[in-house]
């Protein structure tokens, strides 16, 4: 139900290790159809990565002396620092706010409990621009600061620079912390409280309970959320480039675009995947401890009352929890709202309506396909208890770790090759040209986003599956249902919250996606994200302000639906 667990590489199929071993000892189901299907889907999903690997291997390695001497050391340190800061930022904001929500009662708590998810709807590249403007010399913060102290020029005083690694970390943390907040809040709600009450009856003080009991219990959930935030940090190009932070991803693009070596860029990108595997490995290691806790969580019936914060502490808590919302949502909406106010006519433009329609269609189609694929793959892993299927399914989600533009390029090669091969086949045998079918089509964009965000859906549903008691559907099977029937009639309804989470995350990320979409789209096809970019003539995002606000609003609706649905679901189980 937390829905935000990242997948990891090694075997783990949702049943406890003991049960799995027992099952293997008894029988070894084969399901050749499922197995073949799963491997086929994975192969297709991996095609862009394979085509990039092909590009990388066709390179000569002539870029490396320069890269090793002048680029990679600095870029690695910057990337590492950025990752550490984002990890600290997202985990502290996410965990603290989740804890406040669960443990205390203060004014506007219910409103804030969903408002905290809002920054999820803001694309990082727009947030970076908004932050840079907001904290710029002519922005409201510094103007106010100068008016208090009577400064005239930027040389009269010191002000921290948002265009720095730390600034970039602040921007990314502000829009990515909801991943941690979502995962952690549910663990605190479902698992933490009863253990916490036991600790408290044994005489532990609240602070001690938090640090010694709740935090360790929530650790796998925190790591899962942070891992997601870190993946987004690694594949980010927009925010880093705009803020002048030279990460490894920036090095990939500069090697490709400034030095004309796509091979070199692909080589760096693939080596970065190793870094991602390290993150995934850490997450898997953290999650391997979680299985013990999850089994017991569902039995919790009591709903312990929150501590009511009295006097000034109530409003203070409200203020503290409002801060992250103001940062990640308030600043971007304020900045782009101001620009949009001066361009109200843009809201009426037919292009914007068209882009909105395209975005909703692309994002919802992608969400449906991605969720269906994830369900199919997970069901295959569950039923075909074979390590090769489990590993392939995990591999299928690595597309998420690549920068969107690079993944898009890998897919571009594949689609164009497919189209041209089909075309020449049809010309030869049917005397009919099919031209470019998928390349430069909306379908191409859906394929790109499906591949890119399969990891999100797969991870969400997998963690939902892991929360269910191990052999639930076997009861149905013992009553005569087939494996498929029992999965559909027993597991699917129970997985509804996880499936909804998966669909919403994929929808929102597809709506925000820019790099792959802009590369693969057809003539006259704009999504909101590309519309912002196109209208921002000469790197002036002001002119895309209306579309920027509509992106945020479009992503907002499903985020709110999710937030409400999770709340309802919880009331029902508690």
């Amino acid at each position: 139900m937390t829905g935000l667990h990242r997948p990891a590489l090694p075997y783990g199929s949702g049943v406890s290790p003991d049960a799995g071993r027992l099952a293997r000892a008894v029988k070894r189901p084969h399901h050749p159809g499922l197995r073949l299907g799963a491997l086929l889907v994975c192969a297709i999903v991996l095609l862009p990565v394979i085509s990039l690997a092909y590009v990388a291997l066709s390179g000569t390695g002539e870029d490396w002396p320069h890269l090793v001497r002048n680029v990679l050391p600095g870029a690695s340190v910057t990337t590492f620092n950025l990752l550490v800061m984002v990890a600290i930022g997202t985990s502290s904001i996410g965990v603290a706010s989740a804890w406040m929500m669960v443990a205390y009662e203060f004014p506007f708590r219910r409103t804030l409990s969903w408002a905290l998810v809002l920054p999820l709807s803001v694309p990082a590249y727009l947030a970076a621009y908004a932050f840079a403007e907001f904290f710029h010399f002519s922005g409201p913060v510094q103007t106010f600061y100068r008016s208090i102290f009577g400064f005239q020029s930027a040389r009269d005083y010191w002000f921290p620079d948002i265009r720095s690694t730390a600034g970039c970390a602040l921007v990314l943390s502000s829009v990515l912390y909801p991943y941690v907040y979502l995962t952690t809040r549910i663990v605190f709600l479902m698992q933490g409280r009863n253990i916490a009450d036991v600790a408290r009856t044994l005489g532990a003080k609240p602070g001690r309970v938090f640090w010694r009991v709740l935090l360790p219990v929530a650790r796998p959930a925190i790591v899962a959320g942070v891992a997601l935030a870190l993946m987004e940090t690694i594949n980010d190009i927009g925010a880093a480039e705009y803020l002048g932070v030279r990460t490894l991803t920036v090095a990939v693009y500069q090697t490709w675009l400034a030095r004309g070596s796509l091979e070199g860029g692909a080589q760096i990108a693939l080596i970065m995947l190793l870094l991602v595997f390290a993150i995934l490995g850490a997450e898997q290691w953290a999650r391997s401890n979680q299985r013990f806790h999850t089994g017991r969580a569902t039995h919790m019936k009591a709903h312990p009352p929150r501590v009511v914060l009295k006097g000034f502490r109530g409003p203070l808590a409200t203020l503290l929890v409002t801060l992250p919302v103001l940062l990640g949502f308030g600043i971007p909406v304020f900045v782009f709202g101001q620009y949009a106010m001066r361009r109200l006519d843009q809201f009426a433009s037919p292009e914007l309506a068209n882009a909105f329609f395209n975005t909703v269609m692309t994002a919802s189609t992608t969400a449906v396909i991605t969720v269906a694929l994830a369900l199919f793959l997970l069901n295959a892993t569950r039923l075909v208890r074979s390590p090769d299927v489990a590993v392939t399914v995990r591999l299928a989600s690595i597309g998420y770790a690549l920068p969107g533009g690079i993944l898009g390029l890998g897919l571009l090669f594949v689609l164009a090759r497919f189209d041209n091969t089909l075309d020449s086949f049809m010309r030869t045998y049917f005397d009919r040209s099919t031209g470019l079918l998928l390349m430069g089509s909306a379908a191409g964009i859906v394929i790109a986003c499906t591949i890119r965000f399969l990891a999100l859906a797969e991870g969400s549903i997998r963690s939902g599956l892991e929360k269910l008691p191990g052999r639930l559907d076997e009861a149905a099977r013992s009553l005569g249902r087939t494996p498929m029937q029992s999965a559909v009639s027993v597991l699917l309804p129970l997985l509804a919250p996880a499936i909804l989470t998966a669909a919403v995350l994929v929808f929102v990320d597809t709506a925000k996606e820019l790099s792959a979409t802009i590369l693969l789209r057809p003539f006259g096809f704009s999504t909101l994200a590309t519309h912002v970019y196109e209208n921002a003539s000469r790197s002036q995002p002001q002119d895309g302000a209306a579309a920027a606000l509509v992106i945020i609003a479009t992503a907002l609706v499903p985020v709110l639906v999710l937030s409400r649905a999770l709340a309802r679901d919880r009331e029902a189980t508690l």
């Binding site: 320069h66 002048n70 680029v71 600095g74 840079a132 710029h136 010399f137 002519s138 020029s153 930027a154 040389r155 620079d161 265009r163 705009y242 002048g244 030279r246 693009y253 500069q254 490709w256 400034a258 030095r259 004309g260 796509l262 001066r342 361009r343 533009g405 898009g408 571009l412 090669f413 164009a416 090759r417 189209d419 041209n420 075309d423 009919r432 099919t434 031209g435 470019l436 079918l437 390349m439 430069g440 089509s441 909306a442 379908a443 790099s515 802009i518 590369l519 057809p522 003539f523 006259g524 590309t530 196109e534 209208n535 921002a536 003539s537 000469r538 790197s539 002036q540 002001q542 002119d543």
Partner: protein
């Protein structure tokens, strides 16, 4: 059997519509690195003149790779882009075809087009110094002066890896040779006020804010800032600076171009040629000059009044292809010197 084949054909037809590829008569398909808003006025004038519609696809990277992969099925007729190295790269990638057209060649001087006709420059922009009106009394600054310690802590630039800076550094390599250019770049780095970031306009903003005294930027941004009715702040930035035309030892200023090329497999070749002829015409050149504050490539055409107020541009006559050939060298130099790390490291 027949039914199956027919329905398969129908499915493919639907898919092609889905693909949205425009092959219809009276159309010219454009892939562009230039934002549609910038070229739309010219394209509208073209449609008004010829009745030929334009389909525009804006890409921010990977245009060359896309056209290459699409191969003979590619719908693109005309490729439009800024920066000389992107034009030469398109030629190298084999996605353009030679066009020897008297109408086009009569309008565009030889130094602003490929000798074999694979690309054509349409507008020029100079890379100049933005100087604070309040704090800079100098009226002439050379490119070499930017490394003079007298500017220590006073210069702002955007990333050294950006196309416009790489082209300038490539021109410097062509003028001075790599060793001298690298020494100069170290001096420039030492003079920076802060780490390079943002676009050209924010550099003017930094001068307005007092963070630096001079900056490098393209000419048209000054026109755009000074006439920006939507964002009063940009007017302040534009009015806080003077434009100084820096020169190399030959007394000339570095210019870059925006341009267009005829795609190798252009399905609507005749329309594409008409578009290129139109883009080279006085009419199109003047629209560019007036709306975008760029310099026409055609000699004898005037820039806009705003641009004229900057002073006289004496454009460098270096071969642009030669300049573009130093791009990789320039990019590696930027990394080696650590220009983008800013002054401190």
């Amino acid at each position: 059997m027949n039914t199956i084949r027919n329905s398969a054909a129908a499915a493919f037809a639907a898919a092609s519509l889905f693909g949205g590829t425009a092959y219809a008569d009276g159309v010219v398909n454009i892939y562009t690195y230039r934002q549609p808003a910038l070229i739309q006025p010219v394209l509208d004038a073209f449609t008004a003149d010829t009745g030929i519609k334009t389909e525009v696809l804006f890409l921010d990277k990977g245009l060359e790779e896309r056209v290459q992969s699409e191969g003979t099925n590619s719908p693109v007729d005309v490729i439009m882009t800024v920066d000389i190295s992107r034009l030469t790269k398109a030629k190298e990638a084999g996605i353009t075809q030679a066009l020897v057209d008297d109408v086009v060649n009569a309008e565009i001087p030889a130094e602003y087009r490929d000798p074999e006709g694979h690309w054509f420059g349409l507008t020029k922009r100079a890379r100049v110094v933005y100087a604070s009106k309040d704090r800079v009394k100098d009226t002439a600054i050379t490119y070499a002066d930017l490394a003079d310690p007298k500017w220590k802590g006073k210069i702002c630039i955007r990333s050294g890896q950006h196309d416009y800076n790489l082209a300038l550094f490539s021109a410097a390599i062509e003028h001075w040779g790599p060793e001298k250019t690298e020494e100069w770049m170290k001096g420039l780095k030492a003079n920076l006020a802060k780490k390079p970031d943002g676009g050209d306009r924010p550099q003017a903003g930094a001068i307005f804010a007092g963070e630096c005294d001079i900056a490098l930027g393209n000419t048209y941004y000054v026109g755009l800032m000074r006439t920006n009715e939507k964002e009063p702040q940009e007017k302040e930035w534009g009015n806080a600076i003077n434009v100084i035309f820096p020169t190399f030892e030959n007394g000339k200023t570095h210019v870059n171009i925006s341009g267009a090329a005829l795609a190798k497999n252009a399905p609507n070749r005749d329309n594409a040629v008409k578009l290129l002829q139109f883009l080279a015409s006085d009419k199109a050149q003047q629209i560019y000059a007036e709306k975008n504050y760029e310099y026409p490539v055609e000699p004898g055409l005037e820039p806009s009044a705003e641009v004229k107020s900057f002073g006289e541009l004496n454009a460098d006559t270096l071969s642009l292809s030669e300049v573009a050939s130093h791009r990789k060298e320039a990019s590696e130099m930027v990394d080696r010197v650590g220009l983008d790390d800013g002054p401190s490291s």
